[in-house]
Structure formats: structure tokens, C-alpha cells
């Protein structure tokens, strides 16, 4: 037991560093304030949503449905987040050789890996569950037992999603390890899996429409398919100590069984993942020449496509964008029929909003796809290679931004063209949207690189730590959400006060152009200094 505690302590101390921001001052407070603020902002948003859901539930005295709904939502989010992370956190870790050389059981090594995974998912899960519990307490007079039950629920809730994620992550790693291009295979398998989950989640959306009326049906459905929901609702409304003990027993047993079960395959998969299938062909190596900028962009592109977690994280938003556009194109009539029947809006009016809706979607897609926010950190120790090259730091930085926008713009353009053709956009609107399609990714990626230069994480254990858990990627996501929300709000406010689409698009492009100029000015002034200050 002492060994396990020492191991957990060593691994967690190392991993928790990633929540610290590299700053010149060594004051501990400066390193923890920002993550706490970000956490609170996120929890406040969830709290607002929970309140919104609670109001109709209070009317029909079905407050407990909020708990089951949020358990289900956090289950799906933790599961999706877990699938992204599992392969990176469980397999091919830098400290594999160290841990496996120690006189400890192999299942203990797997336990340490899954425990680390559990702690991250616990923090992530709490962001969704804690505000929902607070809202529930606000509306319902709860007994003391509810607090005890909620504490155990919070602690044990991530177990099932991380077990499923670990199993799926192992399957993905096992399948991909059989291929020569295992990273590509891992990316494809992960994307397919995530699309399947999203497909089911979209279908569940039908259930959530007219939430107040369907509350009991939703509750029945969720509690039937997911045991923790059923247990929590049951214990919250009618507490029995036996139910709580059973809940704890089931979760801990599942955790132990999963570790013992996975440990039989884990080490074989891990060594397969580490193995590299090399080419046996004796063909001559190719000596090619490129201009430095082209070569830098190619290097960035290679890094992007060779890191499954990087490409899945950044590319998934773009894939969803295209799928969303195709879905709108194919199902527009079906989607609009129900709104038109209610009589509040005509088909022509809906069609007139399409350019603004498209711009809003482009805005969200661009700002939520921050590729550059990880690109400096992903250099890791090889950052010194870049610093030793006879190339201006600004060229290196711009090559990263260029690569990111070259990935994003063509995909967004495909979506634009599909909607231009379907809805016969006029030339001016099309042109303004194309300007936005180029401008928004440029701004998003410029912001991303500035944030990453300011908050680099150069000593990450693996790509997952950089892409999913670093301060830089978190700030980029939250900032992106903020900018998108403000822009979309501005656009729809513009519609409300009667501005034409052309004027609105012109105005927002103008505002974003000014923002881009300011960012370029800032980047010219600061980014080289920040680049040179990064010491690896």
C-alpha cells in the first residue's frame, strides 16, 4: 500500500504541473488563479443551464429529473473526453520503462495509469455535476443524507465512463497497432467511434425537445439505461444506507475487475503500440529541395497528421461542420416544417437568416478549432532545433499559423459552397462569407499561437497532455467560446434591430479585420520575444 501511495504521489505531482502556468514570477498564487477562474466561469455557465432546465421541472414537481439528466450529460461528456485521452494516457507513456523496471506488479502500473485518468475525469465531471447539485439544493429542501450521497456520487461517477473509455482506448490502440500507419489508424478509429456516439446523442436530442412535457419520459429512459442515474435519484428521494453501500460496492468492484481484466492485455498492446513497423524496401532515399517556409509548413502538417489526439481534437470540429452543413442541406424542409406550422415565421424569413446562421457556424467552428494553441508545446524538447536554425522566429511562428489555416479554410469553404448552391446566396453575401471564412480561422489561429507562446508546456509526457489538458488549450477554448458567443449575439441583435444581412456581414468582417490588425501588431511586437524566452 505504501508503494502505491508513493507511486500515486510521484505520478500526480508530475502531472499536476500541467495546471501551472509558466511565468517569470515564482509566486504559487499566480500559477493557480487562472485555472480556478476558468473553472468557475465554466461552472457558472453550467449552473445557468441547470437553472434553465430546473424551472419547467419545478412546475411539474419532477426536480429529480435534473439530477438524472446531468448525470447522463456528464457521462457522455466524460466518455467523449475519455476516448480522446485514453490511448494517450494509458499507452506509450514516457515513464513506462521506469515504472516497469520497478519491483511492482504490472497491474499496479495499470492502476496508476487509470487512477491518473480517474483524477482528471473527476475534475472534469465535477464541473458539470457540482453546479447541477447546487441548483437542485436551491430548489429542493434536501435531508443531510443527500449531501453524503452526492459526495459519493461525485467521487464514483467517473468510474463507469473511464472504464468504458479505457476499454475503447485499448481496442483502438490494439487495432491501430496492427497497421503500419498506426497513428492514422488510431485517428480514423477514434473519429468513427466519436461519430457513432454523436449520432446517438443527436438522436437523444429529440427526447430533450419540449423538455418540460417529456421530463418523466426522459427520466424513465435515462434511469432505465444507466444504473448510477437510477441509484442517485432513488437515494435522493428515498435514502437507504443499503442502497449507498451497494452503489459503492458495485463501482469499486467494476473498477477492480476492469483493472484486472485490462492488465491481462495491457502490456501486450502497450509493447505493440511502441513497436514501429519499418519499411523493408531498399528503394533510394529521395533528396528534395523546398523553400524554408514550405518546408516548415510541411513539417507542421506532418506533426498534425501523425498525432491522433491532435488531429482528432482539432479536426473533429471541422468534420462536424461539414456533417452539419450536409445535414442542414438534406433535411432543411423537414427541420423548418415544424417551425412554420407554429406560425411564428415564414419559410422565406428562415431562408433570409441562412447567411447569418452560416457565418455564426463558421465563427464557432473557427474559434473552437484552435490548432495553434498546442503547436509550440508539441515541439517539446525539439524546440531547440528550431531555435538553432538560421530562420527568423517570426517565419517559424507564421508557418504554424499558415499550416493551421490551410487545414481549416478549404474544409470550411466546402461547407460554404454547399450552402451557397442550396440557398442561392447573392454574390455580395457569398463574398462577405468567404472573407469571413478566411478571416476567422486566421484570427483564431493567431490567438492560439499567441496564447501558446505565452503559456507553453514544453515538458509534457505525451501529446494528450498538451492538446487536452494544457493551460494554453484551455484558455484558447474558453476565449474562443467567448468571442463566438459575443459575435453570434451581435449578429442576431443586428437582425433584431432590422439591419440587412449584407450590412451585418460587412460590419462584422470590418470588426474582425480590425481585431486581426491589432493581433498582427501585437504578434509583431511580442511573439518573437516570447519565442526567444522559451527555454527547453
Amino acid at each position: 500500500m505504501k508503494k502505491i501511495i508513493s507511486l500515486i504521489k510521484a505520478c500526480m505531482t508530475d502531472n499536476m504541473q500541467l495546471f501551472k502556468i509558466k511565468s517569470k514570477s515564482n509566486k504559487k498564487s499566480s500559477k493557480v488563479i487562472l485555472p480556478i477562474i476558468l473553472g468557475f466561469i465554466c461552472m457558472f455557465s453550467v449552473w445557468s443551464y441547470a437553472n434553465m432546465f430546473m424551472e419547467p421541472l419545478v412546475k411539474i414537481h419532477a426536480e429529480y429529473v435534473l439530477l438524472s439528466l446531468f448525470i447522463m450529460v456528464s457521462f457522455f461528456l466524460t466518455l467523449i473526453e475519455g476516448i480522446y485521452k485514453a490511448s494517450g494516457l494509458l499507452f506509450n507513456c514516457k515513464d513506462d520503462d521506469l515504472l516497469l523496471s520497478l519491483p511492482i506488479k504490472k497491474s499496479t502500473v495499470l492502476f496508476i495509469r487509470i487512477f491518473k485518468f480517474y483524477v482528471f475525469e473527476l475534475l472534469y465531471n465535477s464541473i458539470f455535476m457540482l453546479p447541477a447539485i447546487i441548483v437542485y439544493i436551491r430548489y429542493v429542501k434536501v435531508p443531510f443524507s443527500f449531501y453524503v450521497v452526492s459526495l459519493f456520487i461525485l467521487l464514483l461517477l467517473p468510474i463507469i465512463p473511464i472504464i468504458i473509455s479505457s476499454i475503447l482506448g485499448s481496442i483502438i490502440s490494439r487495432i491501430s497497432s496492427k497497421f503500419k500507419f498506426k497513428n492514422l489508424a488510431q485517428t480514423v478509429t477514434t473519429v468513427i467511434l466519436l461519430l457513432v456516439i454523436f449520432y446517438f446523442s443527436f438522436n437523444m436530442q429529440e427526447l430533450i425537445n419540449n423538455f418540460g412535457e417529456k421530463a418523466n419520459v426522459i427520466n424513465k429512459f435515462i434511469t432505465k439505461i444507466y444504473y448510477p442515474c437510477n441509484a442517485y435519484v432513488k437515494m435522493s428521494t428515498n435514502f437507504k444506507i443499503g442502497d449507498l453501500l451497494l452503489f459503492i460496492f458495485i463501482n469499486i468492484s467494476l473498477f477492480i475487475i476492469a483493472i484486472l481484466g485490462l492488465s491481462t492485455r495491457y502490456f501486450k498492446i502497450n509493447s505493440n503500440v511502441k513497436g514501429v513497423k519499418t519499411s523493408t524496401s531498399k528503394k533510394d532515399y529521395a533528396i528534395k529541395r523546398n523553400r524554408p517556409t514550405i518546408s516548415l509548413i510541411k513539417k507542421e502538417l506532418k506533426k498534425f497528421i501523425s498525432s491522433p489526439v491532435f488531429i482528432t481534437n482539432a479536426g473533429f470540429g471541422l468534420v462536424l461542420f461539414i456533417i452539419g452543413i450536409i445535414y442542414i442541406t438534406l433535411n432543411f424542409d423537414k427541420m423548418t416544417n415544424s417551425i412554420i406550422i407554429e406560425g411564428s415565421i415564414t419559410l422565406d424569413e428562415i431562408k433570409s437568416y441562412i447567411p447569418i446562421i452560416l457565418y455564426s457556424i463558421i465563427c464557432f467552428t473557427s474559434f473552437m478549432t484552435s490548432i495553434t494553441s498546442s503547436m509550440i508545446s508539441l515541439e517539446g524538447k525539439s524546440f531547440n532545433i528550431l531555435k538553432s536554425l538560421p530562420i527568423k522566429p517570426m517565419t517559424i511562428i507564421l508557418a504554424k499559423v499558415l499550416m493551421a489555416v490551410l487545414v481549416m479554410i478549404p474544409l470550411i469553404l466546402i461547407g460554404d459552397i454547399i450552402l451557397f448552391v442550396k440557398f442561392n446566396f447573392n454574390i455580395l453575401e457569398s463574398l462577405l462569407i468567404i472573407i469571413g471564412t478566411i478571416l476567422l480561422p486566421l484570427i483564431s489561429e493567431t490567438i492560439g499561437i499567441i496564447i501558446n507562446l505565452k503559456y507553453p508546456k514544453m515538458d509534457a509526457e505525451n501529446d494528450t497532455e498538451v492538446v487536452k489538458q494544457s493551460m494554453s488549450s484551455m484558455i484558447s477554448v474558453f476565449l474562443g467560446m467567448g468571442i463566438s458567443a459575443i459575435s453570434v449575439f451581435g449578429l442576431f441583435y443586428g437582425i433584431k434591430i432590422g439591419l440587412s444581412n449584407t450590412l451585418l456581414l460587412l460590419l462584422i468582417n470590418l470588426i474582425f479585420s480590425i481585431l486581426f490588425i491589432i493581433l498582427m501588431f501585437y504578434m509583431n511586437k511580442k511573439s518573437v520575444k516570447l519565442f526567444n524566452e522559451i527555454n527547453v
Binding site: 519499411s279 532515399y285 529521395a286 529541395r289 523553400r291 532545433i385 531555435k387 538553432s388 538560421p390 526567444n532
Partner: protein, 234 residues
């Protein structure tokens, strides 16, 4: 020629380099020795423009690394102690990338890559991904990449670590060849026997300060370099 003039580098209050000054002349093999954490890598990274320094200056062939960083770097090549290369690239992909950065024309890069790949017995491995290589093979790739653009100055941090005896022999041959062409080699090492046999001049650093610098004869006299080093360390 490398001129290191009163270079001081601080990490917080600790001086990693304390008023370091010495010159490395053209056509010289210069060894830089010191115990772990003495400041060898810090100085090498400062020479390469990887890390900035607080005081002093470093002049590469008459140009300051601070003011004319790009021009200085064009004349140098760097082999790091721990070859953290781009694992997702093939060896030839990485070497081509480095050549692109130094804008090496296709004939010159072909000549150099062929020559050094053959010398370091890597010809059959250049199409393989770097992630499949051992430490020694990565070190060889880093060396081939460094030599592929014909640098005037070669800077190496612990170049012999992890290399097989044949590769160590080959590097020494390359060093002699470069020096014959009037080029400069500056490297750090812990292997004192190699330094003693190979180098024209040597500098010993202790806790960020240069404690001795001079020709091999001036430094060791009749003693062995190992003995002199241990006496200085003691």
C-alpha cells in the same frame, strides 16, 4: 572564429555562467570540459543562439549572435547532447528539412548526405521513421544533418554519448577533415581521453567559471588531462 566575451547567464539568482571569456580560433578542435551542471550546455546553447544571456557578447566570425543571429547561425551547425529530433519524420525527411532551412542546393546536399550516410552506415535506414531509431542512430542522423550543409563551425554537445566505436572513430575522422579545411570545432565532453588525443585547445569550466583555458600542453604539462581535471575539481 568564436569569441566569447564576458558572458554571464543567470537562472534566478544562480549564475550558470559567470563572466566567461575565451576564444576558439579557426582550424581548431576545441574541447570544453567540466562536471555535470558546470555550465557547458548553457554556454553551447548561448553560442547557438538557443538561450539568451544576461551580460557580455558572443561573436561568430566577426558578427554578434545577438544582433546578427541568423547570419551567425548560417555558419554554424549544432549537434545536441540528447538528439530530440522530429520523431514523426523519416531520417531523410529530417535531413532534407535541415538542408531546406540552410537553403542548401540539391547537388551539394546530395553529395554531403551520400557521403556521411555511407560513412555512418545509415544509407539503408534513411527512409525509416526516426521514432524507430535507437539513441545512437538518432545521434548519427543529427550529425549527418549537421554536416549536410557544410558548416564553417561545428558545435557539439557530448557528441560521443551513445555512439558505437565505429561511429566515434568516424566522427573523429570528420573532425580532422574539417580542421584541415580550416573549419572550427567546438565540443563538450566527459571523455577526457578523447579530448586529450583530439584537441588543439581546451577550456575547463567549474560552477559557471572558466578555471583554465589554453593549449593541451599548457593545461596538462606532463600530467594526464584526467589528473589535471580531477585536481581542479577537488
Amino acid at each position: 572564429m568564436i569569441e566569447i566575451k564576458n558572458v554571464t547567464k543567470k537562472y534566478g539568482k544562480k549564475k550558470a555562467l559567470d563572466n566567461v571569456s575565451f576564444d576558439v580560433n579557426d582550424g581548431e578542435i576545441f574541447a570544453f570540459i567540466g562536471h555535470n551542471g558546470a555550465g557547458k550546455t548553457t554556454l553551447i546553447k548561448a553560442i547557438m543562439g538557443i538561450h539568451d544571456f544576461d551580460e557580455g557578447d558572443i561573436i561568430i566570425n566577426g558578427k554578434s549572435i545577438r544582433d546578427k543571429g541568423i547570419e551567425c547561425k548560417k555558419e554554424m551547425a549544432f549537434v545536441p547532447d540528447n538528439p530530440e529530433l522530429y520523431e514523426n519524420m523519416t531520417a531523410i525527411g529530417f535531413i532534407n528539412f535541415i538542408c531546406d532551412m540552410y537553403e542548401v542546393n540539391i547537388d551539394e546536399r546530395k553529395k554531403n548526405i551520400d557521403k556521411y550516410a555511407k560513412m555512418f552506415e545509415m544509407k539503408n535506414n534513411l527512409n525509416e521513421p526516426i521514432s524507430s531509431f535507437s539513441h545512437g542512430m538518432k545521434q548519427k542522423v543529427a550529425i549527418i544533418a549537421a554536416l549536410s550543409h557544410n558548416p564553417k563551425i561545428l558545435i557539439m554537445d557530448e557528441p560521443f554519448v551513445g555512439l558505437d566505436p565505429k561511429a566515434v572513430f568516424d566522427i573523429k575522422e570528420v573532425m580532422h577533415e574539417m580542421v584541415k579545411e580550416g573549419k572550427t570545432i567546438f565540443f563538450s565532453t566527459h571523455i577526457l581521453d578523447v579530448a586529450e588525443k583530439l584537441c588543439t585547445r581546451v577550456a575547463i569550466i567549474k560552477k559557471g567559471k572558466i578555471v583554465k583555458v589554453g593549449t593541451m600542453k599548457e593545461i596538462k604539462g606532463d600530467k594526464s588531462l584526467e589528473k589535471v581535471f580531477l585536481e581542479l575539481e577537488g
